[in-house]
């Protein structure tokens, strides 16, 4: 049986004058329905590239992605994205920004229903009083709340979060993680988050996928977070698993992420595993 989301042999490369620059090579990942998975790794390891391919914002060079039994092609409202910068339209109010997508995917619903949806999500993220304000009148943290409301309001099959709180200070970040986890608990949307914040990954995820340094990053380790839900900050920080897991993640990022698991391949990988490895001497003599 296949998983709800399946990334198989996902590859991204860009052509350069010196040949192909491989950013992500043969990335495999399966996510169950309702699971919250984090991708953690250093800047430039390709974790955002994986996410943007899932979002359909970046072309796939090789491999494929299946979401709910269908192969992905291009971007769509079945995947809600929360970007690092909130990416709101500055001439629209918070409400109008959320409404923009709601009108698209709920076009057959009544006008009142659409309004109720937008108002509901804006209120639960804490913008009940500020939804008629434009982005310039909102603080960075409030803008990111709009971004979260906008993603959830579309009732997407999957939620994609690209370092959603990376631009916020640590305390505001803690607050918004709480907002996110509560909304997620009510909706149970399958989620993939890219982050380099160890505490954030532990607080939110069911599973943390650690990536080694790029280029051609690979999955280094997968950590299951078995801290019971619903999660409260205090209880999570006191959970006996928390600090051991945190140390494991930090250790990974500080030491093992930089280490290449295998010596760099001299030749491109053989297409079939049973074919003999290409050797320059052999190919010379055979020609």
């Amino acid at each position: 049986m296949s998983a709800y989301v399946e990334l198989s042999r996902l590859t991204k490369s860009y052509p350069t004058p010196k040949g192909e620059a491989v950013i992500v090579r043969d990335f495999d990942l399966k996510i169950e329905k309702g699971e919250f998975v984090s991708l953690i790794g250093h800047s430039g390891c390709g974790k955002s590239t994986v996410l943007s391919m899932l979002a359909g914002l970046n072309e796939i060079s090789g491999g494929g992605i299946i979401l709910a039994g269908r192969e992905l092609a291009g971007a769509g409202p079945d995947r809600g994205v929360v970007f690092q910068s909130p990416s709101l339209l500055p001439w629209m109010t918070a409400y109008e920004n959320v409404m923009l997508g709601v009108e698209q995917v709920f076009f057959s619903a009544t006008k009142l229903e659409r309004q109720e949806i937008a108002e509901y999500y804006l209120t639960v993220v804490g913008l009940g009083e500020a939804m008629r304000k434009k982005p310039a009148e909102l603080s960075q943290g409030m803008r990111q709340r709009v971004g979260i409301a906008r993603a959830f309001a579309l009732k997407p099959k999957m939620l994609l979060l690209d370092e959603p709180f990376g631009m916020l200070d640590s305390l505001t970040r803690y607050e918004l993680q709480q907002v996110l986890i509560e909304l997620w608990r009510k909706n149970k949307i399958t989620a993939l988050m890219v982050t380099h914040d160890v505490d954030e990954a532990l607080f939110l995820s069911d599973r943390i996928v650690c990536m080694t340094d790029g280029p051609a990053a690979e999955v280094g380790e997968i950590i299951d977070v078995k801290i019971p839900r619903p999660r409260e900050r205090k209880a999570v920080l006191e959970h006996p698993d928390y600090y051991p897991l945190r140390e494991r993640l930090i250790e990974f990022l500080e030491v093992r992420a930089h280490r290449k698991p295998v010596p760099p391949r001299a030749a491109p990988p053989a297409i079939k595993s049973d074919s003999p490895p290409p050797s320059p001497v052999v190919s010379h003599s055979s020609s």
Partner: protein, 301 residues
């Protein structure tokens, strides 16, 4: 009386109270971290200590002298570095040294500046201008400039907030090393509880604004030198982390007025936009899964 003393300090801009009734005593040689939310008035507080702003009420004193204006006894490191872009690393620091010690010979000034350039590991970049330096290097210049004035107290206003995590860690280690060599009195403002616990002797939380005030101190008591990795195993570190974060989040929650509002969320499914619209035989209403859900939500404003 303590070395740096704030007594009932309040500051408001117009009718808006920013800081209210701040009391703080910092001993000589102590490293105090003030942790607060953005917008809580942290920079206002450091500007008051620096003498760049005057309090609306209350008094501030350093070494028994009231603070009324900026002076070279207080070295400030700003978040945005504030370097002169047309001067090199060396010249930026020299400018401060010349202003504070006009009577020194040029050789003595030169040696002094060179020493501080070396202290922050910028000797290879001494003749570069700020535009040619990374954010982390610029902040090092700013730290060296403040230290080279040999102030009685060093004020750090979120010195590392604009830097990425790795550079941040490196500079934290550097600040820690310089502080242990120099034992200056330091007041550092930060929004990162971890940074405060790692560097300081004591954490003082600044509650969420408006009208922010200082909460109870958390003495850190983790022996120095502190090791970034080993500290993760430290029971005291874990406890402090939990307590400080909790205090900060609670202070914000208290500020909010909670109102319970009834909200309606229609339980309908989004349309598949890939399907062509207007196909005959298709209903024009969305798939309604169930009853309309009414939910009471606590709204905090």
């Amino acid at each position: 009386m303590a070395y740096l003393e704030l007594q009932n300090v309040s500051k408001s801009f117009g009718a808006a109270p920013v800081l209210q009734d701040l009391n703080l005593s910092v001993e000589k040689g102590e490293f105090v971290a003030i942790v607060g939310f953005s917008g809580a008035g942290k920079t206002t507080l450091i500007s008051l200590i620096a003498g760049l702003l005057k309090p609306s009420h209350g008094t501030l004193s350093l070494n028994d002298l009231e603070i009324t204006a900026p002076g070279p006894d207080r070295g400030v490191v700003f978040q945005n570095y504030s370097l002169l872009p047309w001067l090199s690393v060396y010249e930026n620091i020299l400018l401060a040294v010349e202003a504070v010690n006009p009577n020194w010979t040029s050789t003595k000034r030169k040696e002094h500046v060179e020493r501080y350039v070396g202290m922050v590991n910028l000797t290879p970049a001494r003749d570069k201008r700020p535009g040619e330096l990374s954010g982390g290097m610029r902040q090092r210049v700013s730290v060296a400039r403040a230290l080279a004035m040999d102030p009685q107290i060093l004020l750090l206003d979120e010195p590392l907030s604009a830097l990425d995590a790795l550079t941040r860690a490196t500079l934290q280690d550097e600040i820690s090393r310089i502080w242990s060599e120099d034992k200056k009195t330091v007041v550092m403002i930060t929004n990162d509880p971890d940074e405060g616990i790692y560097l300081a002797d004591r954490i003082v939380p600044l509650t969420a604004g408006p009208a922010a005030t200082l909460g109870p101190s958390f003495a850190i008591g983790i022996p120095r030198p502190r090791d970034r990795k080993a500290i993760n195993h430290d029971a005291r570190f874990k406890q402090l982390r939990r307590e400080v974060v909790e205090f900060m989040l609670a202070s914000k929650a208290e500020r909010r007025v909670s109102v319970t509002r009834k909200l309606i969320l229609p339980d309908i499914e989004p349309e598949d936009l890939n399907r062509p619209r207007g196909v005959t035989g298709r209903s024009i209403a969305p798939l309604r899964k169930g009853e309309v859900k009414e939910e009471s939500v606590e709204v905090k404003s």
